[in-house]
Symmetry: D2
Subunit: 338 residues, 4 copies
């Protein structure tokens, strides 16, 4: 922590500030500059509330030096993490495509879609079983039956499974059927839940909150990592800005920023990032071009009759076209897509 003092501060005030820092068990280094005296306060107190120093008379500003996350940082682990999920490697040279419907609707639906995404090159099948919706009258998902169908369809076509876990009570159940536990944007800062996920045995894909900074997102990942679960995949899905032409603003620059700050793999979700079908493909291409380790895309064999989110689901031939394009883009940056 760096404590910048006001110019013209009295020596007695400086001594009082140093005394308070000592009380909080910081070692203090003092540098006197032309314009400012600056105190370096060194100690290991990740939970220290720096506003306590900011409010002392004579303090102009307090700057935090250490990033609040460690296990998630590149300083902690130099090379990028690669997670092997039953043979599918996330974070390696291959860009992994996860695809499937918003919600599992029926056996016929999920088998049809699983086949078509597999044929086009996807490695992981997505699909929701629990769908709490903003309207209580909307389709709420098939529950455990949906999970069973999802697993069966994935097995039939040699795919892995990613699906959302809504709260602690679902972790055990979903671990029985899924290979990756997806955590939604609204749960990104649900700390008690993150702690529980730290003890889960399956990898976690953590979506970025709508109003979360990249640093806060990495702090949430840190929570899971510090609980003992080393397999956290980050997923960018758009942030909220003043722009209203798109549902969210997909922050493509988060991809190179995460690559610089962290060793964790990062995946992009253009379907939720842009929110409407006709712009999903350009955003999927942009994400791969920017260096994403994977993309997760909503696809439906019949979007016009999907029970949820049909408007942002790709048609089968659009998905094939997208795969063709992102495959060539991956090659341009010396990566590959199956």
């Amino acid at each position: 922590m760096i404590v910048v003092l006001e110019s013209g501060i009295a020596e007695t005030q400086i001594e009082e500030i140093i005394r308070v820092l000592h009380d909080h068990k910081f070692d203090v280094h003092r540098s006197t500059g032309v314009q400012h005296t600056v105190l370096g306060a060194i100690g290991v107190h990740p939970e220290f509330d720096h506003r306590q120093i900011e409010l002392l008379p004579g303090v102009a500003e307090v700057l935090r030096v250490t990033e609040p996350f460690k296990l998630a940082s590149h300083a902690f682990k130099r090379e990028g993490s690669i997670f092997d999920i039953g043979g599918v490697k996330i974070g390696g040279p291959e860009v992994v495509v996860m695809a499937g419907p918003c919600a599992v609707e029926s056996e016929e639906q999920i088998f049809k879609i699983a086949k078509l995404v597999k044929d086009a090159g996807a490695k992981i099948l997505r699909g929701g079983a629990f769908k709490p919706r903003s309207s209580p009258y909307s389709f709420q998902g098939l529950g455990e039956d949906g999970l069973k169908l999802l697993r069966a369809a994935a097995n039939e076509f040699q795919l892995k499974v990613v699906t959302e876990v809504m709260d602690k009570s679902q972790i055990d159940l979903i671990e029985k059927y899924a290979d990756i536990l997806q955590i939604g944007a609204r749960n990104m800062q649900n700390y008690t839940f993150l702690k529980d996920l730290g003890k889960a045995s399956k990898p976690v894909m953590l979506k970025r909150g709508l109003a979360a900074t990249i640093e806060e997102w990495l702090m949430s990942a840190e929570y899971i990592l510090s609980g003992g679960n080393q397999q956290v995949i980050l997923c960018e899905r758009g942030i909220r800005t003043f722009e209203t032409a798109t549902r969210n603003t997909m922050d493509i620059s988060a991809i190179p920023v995460i690559k610089k700050k962290s060793h964790l793999p990062i995946v992009a979700d253009p379907s939720h990032g842009i929110g409407i079908r006709d712009k999903v493909i350009p955003m999927a291409r942009a994400a791969v071009a920017a260096g994403a380790d994977g993309i997760i895309v909503e696809v439906h064999h019949d979007p016009d009759h999907a029970l949820s989110d049909g408007a942002q689901s790709l048609y089968p031939d659009q998905f094939s076209q997208m795969m063709k394009e992102v495959r060539m883009i991956a090659r341009a940056i010396e990566r590959s897509i199956a």
Copy 2:
């Protein structure tokens, strides 16, 4: 729903769009203007995903006509709601002050603070018993023991109690001790939890999410109301913007906007809205001046040694000064503070 068609659209395309609207059970009125043909699609489908129409060829734009909330709207209930909480009326001419520490720390602490806020004119005692923190090493709250102390201190000084409920599993427990259930900003769109709160027997104070629009906030209130709990109090506590000089940007204009759109009472939380002690008082004054039905403020008898959020807690004499000022401001707009 209003469907604006592209200029120069062919008659056959218009007919196809009308056909799709009929399929979705809408009555369709057609108006042909100089520049545009516009279709009015009338029907009762609150859960209809209007993007399905937006994607049809020939559609320029789709405008939703009805607000998605009803029970929360002023159209539903003309006069403002007043909730009587054991004699304390929220939403009436009196501006209610809720005050207390961030967290209950000990019997001595909560009794001292209860006495001082009561003496200054507060009607409701606030204090947290469960404190999931961003760092696992920080103080996590006293749990049920904290609730007991909070209730005892409130009873001793004839105060009501508001405290946060983190998830469904805590509702029954907290209803035993509290008069108002506070729902945090991060839970504002946790729909399964909102449904459970619709069945709770105590009033709910719903904080606005950091990235939530006013409309989304009212939709979350609607969820609770539609579950059968008619007593929802809204609480503004700041939104996230590009400004970094303050932790959040407290949206004071939400107060008159809510007063126009809804009959529900609205309270402001300047402590979390501004995040640092020296600016809490001006923001408390602004909230009352703008027409808030109450304010909730963090106060501690010894903020320098508070176990959490000391930096945004007022000193006792600051709280008294604030009460004096907001009392005069309330009078300026023909309201009162005890």
Copy 3:
């Protein structure tokens, strides 16, 4: 400037970074902590681009220590500035009310409005003479004729005049008629224009840009101050956020923040901040309650037939009601309104 080095950095890399800092004429202080080595780089280079250091290998982060503005800061001038504008003092105990139409439309109109705002207690008459509009077909203002009418009406009723200057070519002309030069939000970062205003002989009221941080706003004020014009009044008029229920989000918290950081007076513009008549009054009250040194409000004797911005102009009786309320609020914080 504080340069935080990556943990585990090699000694030779540290030496290289120190060499580069010396090349840029910084004095370097080194502190070695448990987790990090930190370099304090001291020197007077306000224009130094710190990204040059951020990009060096081994650098984790660069923190700027000194605020980029000086003349505008409270450290430079401890007591708040008070500007005496022909007897009207801005920044003192009195809260000054500026009021008038969006645009000067005719002699009859401006004299009517001048009389009514004077009668209600305003000290300064506002009104636009040059109105570049988003549509080329809209009313564009009366130009110099408008300025003459504005001055005549102000003189008749012993008011001062504030009006907007759009660019350098208008400065001399407008200085002949106005007492305060208003600079619009879109010009806040027009640096060549700010330099010209530094040489103007009249006080400047600088509106905050829609996407400007408080720090950037103070930097723009610094530009004018450093040019030699010591009389800069700041004016908050709303920032752009994701909220769509209001045109802008008026940042009331900017008022106490500016009061802490700067000695310059700050005024609030609720008419543009909220953008619609029925919420102007609560926001005016909130601004005064938060400690604004003045408010500027659009008023029209006949808003329904105003040639511009009628929808955000107050009716005469609304303005009188507002004055009554803000007068009592000012008293609550030991200030006054005429």
Copy 4:
């Protein structure tokens, strides 16, 4: 314009609203639905302030039907515009690369950089001659001498020239030397200047304002188009959001949105969008992948000694690497880069 009335409104109120609409010369169509009565108000009043209707008693909401821009819209011109700038076509199948230094510094510098960007495949040379900076002590550009050098270097290597015009007084001068007039983000809503540009003889590249919506950006383009200059190129360069890890958030999704709404070409500026060298290349790739018609990139033969913006300028070998990558990406979407 669609006027949604409050439910339960009296017939006399409806008649009064219709009367006001007729007064404003609108044709009114009335539809009575189950929950709401809706009025369609049809007429050609692009400058009408719809807040005048919003404030009438009984009005719940007013929805604007027609987009405020016409000449810029796809409805006006179905196929995408292609501008031929001395043989370089912008908006066609080729993705055009514009590159060069932030500022022209010397003959040697601009010739060196012109050669290297030409060799790597750029078609247009960028470089600033007038550089108003936030600090008055920084390098302010070479002025007309800079323009001469820029032109000479471009001619030597068969490149076209793009450079920024700061205000009206510079238009004639810069048209003598440049092929494209660049308009900075801070001037995007300077309407008097936009009008002047409508009469310019050279194509204009209009940068998006930091807080501008896509619709506002297109309205600014409309201003130039309606003045008679048909050649407007849009340039995305980042918007301001709450994220602080990047200087701005580059809105890649603006590219497909513009492609849907408008026939104008769109170019991306990753150097200013991301603001730091090490993330420029991934963002350049993302822009091309998303469908941009061009990119504009800062390159310097010696960024460590550049007089401005060195930290976001690419090294020569980085630029070559970038060109190799974007060339392959262009191919993936059936476009090309020289």
